[in-house]
């Protein structure tokens, strides 16, 4: 029985690492497999480009390493054959590519979201076959993580180092993970404080940039949980803050080169970064001074895991949505003692559950955030009530941690641990399947289809002192009854039928871009940061009034995305997403 599968493309790896460099990586992989064995995990390496190995698994080998379709099919075949509890993708995007999911917010308008794809590993965590539609992957069910090397680089030391960290990791008590380094752009501090409070119960230690950063004192940088809500850029190693009163004041808040020096990051650190491009695996030669990206830097400094985005991310000024949610869900699960991979899967599932039906912005968020790190690593050790039936009765958590040399005890722990994990995986698979089936189909139209919706959105724009721009589109939602998914006894059937009759269904999302009226000049903010909110369609006057006032005070809010939810033909709420 295989517990963990490491998938990689040996042809692509050998292209990068010649001779002894490749051998060094092979040795490090073997050491990881041996270390996993001591942890009672049976791990195997599957080269998805090897026809013989793949034939044995009845899977289709990858012929073209850069083909998203081929890689997805190969990983699906391996997963079906071995049903591992953990799947680790070994290598960066020039070994196994991120999948090319179409960005639902893509626009040709140079002022809009110009990213054709929301790249990511989400499809590898789903049973649905290759597709470019994010909605086909709304039911993630597999525990997947990626241990990336450096894109385009040929020195094996970096990857060997990461594999060594994956071989030698140790769980620590929860108390070691309850203090945090939290960094926020000053402009978004309200939203970040809410996220951090949701994770750690207090945001007293939140740091804002400006004025703080990037030379964090050891008291902060040495903490094991890092939550970062700052700006990030394409092929750019650092994160940036932003003043709440001057948009152009964007100092470096977190610097990869600073982090990359010894003693700055404590082994075992876990990071969630909301920042745009925070999880982009770019070739360091494209960056200034050859600096690798933030994600690669953290992992190179022995961080255990990093959750970050490949592309431009979304979120509100205040309150929590999109990137805020998926990042906090991840860290909360890590704190509760989940493996990194399970924490990422549960974060994705929770995100779908919380935001369903997935709006265009939330679809992109789901697709673009990825786990980097060995998915089987369990950073936080937690007590468990399960007792292992071995020569001496012991708590499963403690017995698993002690790595006993007693064969009988080791076997008992292995059996008990695997049984618990199998139960969790079964539940997660069922939940993923259910989430996928609950998600309605959506069709994008290049203009807002409903005259009533268009008129309502324009009215709301006017109430918010915004002028609508030309760009707008709709996603028509085909909601379906959930009754067929429910229990079959007559009482349950009857209740499901009654609920279906009572339920109001989402029929569309309408997206409109706008800018505050009378603010055509370059953004120089002098007023206070403005609010983001979900407005009920009725009773918006006071909110609109304060938003309009804020817009006048703060000309930085020149452009806004309004995402309206239509239920049974009527707009019931509007989400206002600003540049954060």
């Amino acid at each position: 029985m295989t517990d963990k599968v490491i998938v990689t493309n040996l042809t692509a790896l050998k292209e990068k690492y010649k001779g002894n460099a490749f051998k060094a990586i092979q040795t490090a992989v073997n050491e990881l497999i041996a270390a996993d064995k001591v942890r009672r995990l049976t791990t195997i390496l599957v080269p998805l480009d090897d026809p013989k190995v793949m034939k044995k698994l009845k899977a289709t080998p990858v012929k073209n390493p850069s083909s998203c379709r081929q890689n997805k099919k190969a990983i699906d075949g391996i997963y079906q054959a071995l049903v591992p509890d953990y799947m680790m993708i070994l290598g960066a995007i020039d070994v196994i590519p991120h999948q090319d999911m179409k960005n639902p917010l893509f626009s040709d308008d140079p002022e809009g979201d110009n990213e054709k794809f929301a790249w990511g590993d989400l499809p590898y965590a789903c049973d649905a076959p290759y597709s470019q539609e994010i909605l086909d992957f709304s039911g993630p069910s597999r525990v997947v993580g990626r241990l990336p090397d450096l894109t385009g680089q040929t020195d094996p030391d970096y990857l060997v180092g990461l594999l060594k960290t994956a071989s030698t990791w140790k769980s620590s008590p929860k108390s070691e993970y309850q203090s945090y380094l939290g960094i926020s752009a000053e402009k978004w501090k309200e939203s970040t404080a809410e996220s951090i409070t949701n994770i750690f119960s207090s945001s007293d230690d939140l740091q804002t940039s400006p004025k703080e950063g990037y030379k964090w004192k050891s008291d902060f940088i040495n903490r094991r949980m890092h939550f970062i809500n700052c700006h990030g850029g394409d092929t750019y190693p650092d994160f940036l803050g932003q003043s709440s009163t001057d948009d152009e004041d964007m100092p470096v808040s977190h610097q990869a080169a600073f982090l990359g020096k010894k003693g700055r990051v404590v082994e075992g650190t876990v990071v969630a970064a909301e920042c745009c491009f925070g999880g982009q695996l770019y070739d360091p030669t494209a960056a200034d001074k050859g600096q690798m990206g933030m994600c690669n830097t953290y992992l190179g400094m022995k961080a255990y895991g990093f959750l970050g985005s490949t592309t431009t991310a979304y979120g509100p000024f205040s309150g929590n949505d999109q990137a805020d949610l998926i990042c906090q869900f991840f860290l909360r699960r890590v704190l509760d003692g989940a493996s990194l991979g399970r924490a990422a899967l549960e974060a994705r599932q929770r995100f779908v559950e919380r935001t369903s039906p997935l709006s265009p912005m939330n679809q992109k968020t789901l697709a673009q955030f990825n786990l980097y790190g060995d998915p089987s690593v369990v950073p936080v050790s937690t007590a468990t009530s399960t007792l292992v039936v071995a020569p001496k009765v012991k708590s499963l958590g403690l017995a698993a941690k002690s790595l006993s040399k007693s064969k009988a005890e080791a076997k008992a722990v292995e059996i008990a641990g695997a049984a618990e994990r199998a139960d969790r995986r079964e539940t997660l698979r069922a939940k993923g399947d259910l989430l996928s089936r609950l998600q309605p189909d959506m069709n994008k139209t290049e203009t807002i289809t409903s005259a009533q919706a268009k008129s309502s959105l324009k009215k709301i724009m006017s109430q918010l002192n915004l002028r609508p721009l030309k760009e707008s589109f709709s996603f028509n939602v085909q909601s379906q009854s959930t009754a067929p998914l429910m229990a079959k006894n007559p009482l349950a059937k009857g209740i499901s039928k009654a609920i279906a009759a009572k339920k109001q269904s989402t029929t569309a999302f309408h997206v409109m871009f706008g800018r505050p009226a009378g603010t055509e000049t370059k953004a120089i903010a002098k007023g206070p940061g403005s609010k983001s909110m979900t407005l009920a369609a009725t009773g918006t006057k006071s909110a609109a009034k304060s938003a309009a006032k804020a817009a006048k005070q703060s000309p930085i809010r020149k452009f806004v995305v309004l995402e309206a939810k239509e239920v049974d033909g009527k707009i019931v709420s509007v989400k206002e997403a600003h540049s954060k």
């Binding site: 020039d94 002022e111 979201d113 700006h231 394409d234 431009t312 991310a313």
Partner: protein
């Protein structure tokens, strides 16, 4: 994203307009607009991707530049102003 980048030399006019509207990265960004009306998000190698005063000074000018083209950004390492 594509794993590799291409080196590119381009000539065009430096302009500013809003980028990544509605996202966490929304900003007035600097672009290079070429004669065929193609538009490239411009960044100076080592420069702040959100507000770079050196690039701001080039706005309105026509420049010839050398750099690399990523999926979303033209990162320039060398440039000269084209007069007349």
């Amino acid at each position: 994203m594509p794993a590799s980048y291409s080196a590119k030399e381009l000539t065009g006019r430096v302009i500013t307009h809003l980028a990544a509207k509605g996202s966490k990265s929304e900003r007035q960004a600097v672009f290079l607009e070429t004669a065929d009306k193609s538009s490239y998000l411009l960044r100076r190698r080592g420069g702040n991707p959100f507000f770079d005063p050196i690039l701001q000074k080039l706005v309105g000018k026509t420049i010839h530049c050398k750099g690399i083209l990523t999926e979303h950004t033209y990162i320039i390492s060398d440039w000269s102003e084209v007069k007349g």
